[in-house]
Symmetry: C2
Subunit: 147 residues, 2 copies
Amino acid sequence: MAESREINIREFLANHHIRPSQQRVAIMEYLLANKTHPTVDQIFEQLSVDIPSLSKTTVYNTLTLFSRHGITLVLTIDPRNLRFDSDTSTHAHFLCEVCGELHDIFLSKEQKEALQLLTRCEHQILDTQLNHKGVCKECRTHARYQV
Amino acid sequence: MAESREINIREFLANHHIRPSQQRVAIMEYLLANKTHPTVDQIFEQLSVDIPSLSKTTVYNTLTLFSRHGITLVLTIDPRNLRFDSDTSTHAHFLCEVCGELHDIFLSKEQKEALQLLTRCEHQILDTQLNHKGVCKECRTHARYQV
DNA sequence: GTGCTTGCAAATCGTTTGCAATAGC
DNA sequence: GCTATTGCAAACGATTTGCAAGCAC
């Protein structure tokens, strides 16, 4: 299982003209398995367990490489850290200002069409991000915050 | 002219329960006059000419205060710096990855309705930002960049 | 063996914090 | 006069850079 997945990832990277080093495969595998928009630190901490020699520089290099090749998104919604997302399909994001959690907001067909209408302008758009901030469902219902 | 504008800004801040200190008035005046989504550094450099004692800490404090009171937006589109915007009306932004310029994208009535449709979800949304990145009109036509 | 990739250490730089001096109601 | 605000200096922390060692074709 894990082995065939790794082979798929190697092929996936190779198809995108990215040499599939151990580190790169591990990072892409992590991103695909953890759709939590991890920070560089989170990726680094987790993967360091299996790859003790891993350097944070390599994580930065790899994520920059992935995003240049369009197989990873760099999310700028969180002013504290960059966040990374291997889901490059059309969706929005919601950052909870109470718990800091970053949620995906998947869009209906109607909403995707609406977004389509919003991605036309005089400039050449290469990337669009729809970012919401506020208080997430969990934090509201659990009333973990004070006004 | 300048004097009456300053008085208006003092009143504007007072109406929002913000004590109108010299620095705060100057920063708000700058933001209203320069709708270029300036960084903290740009605001600081410019205002330092007239207020030599100004501290960058005060610029940070003031902008944080303004955004807490909802009279200024903190834009997170540019991963390099926070950007500030005194135009809190509904509009999108475009960051040119060639020249670094941050442009306003004003929306048609239709587009505003489309965005309205996109700002409904299970969480409590307090702020929404629609961010585009790519190559701006000027950089495309002047072919200042290489592929 | 040549060039790409990695990883260490240091540098960089935007932002935050602690605290004493100051200003404004 | 009292409290809110300012400004300095230091700390912090995310990201970048330079470079030497290692790896893969």
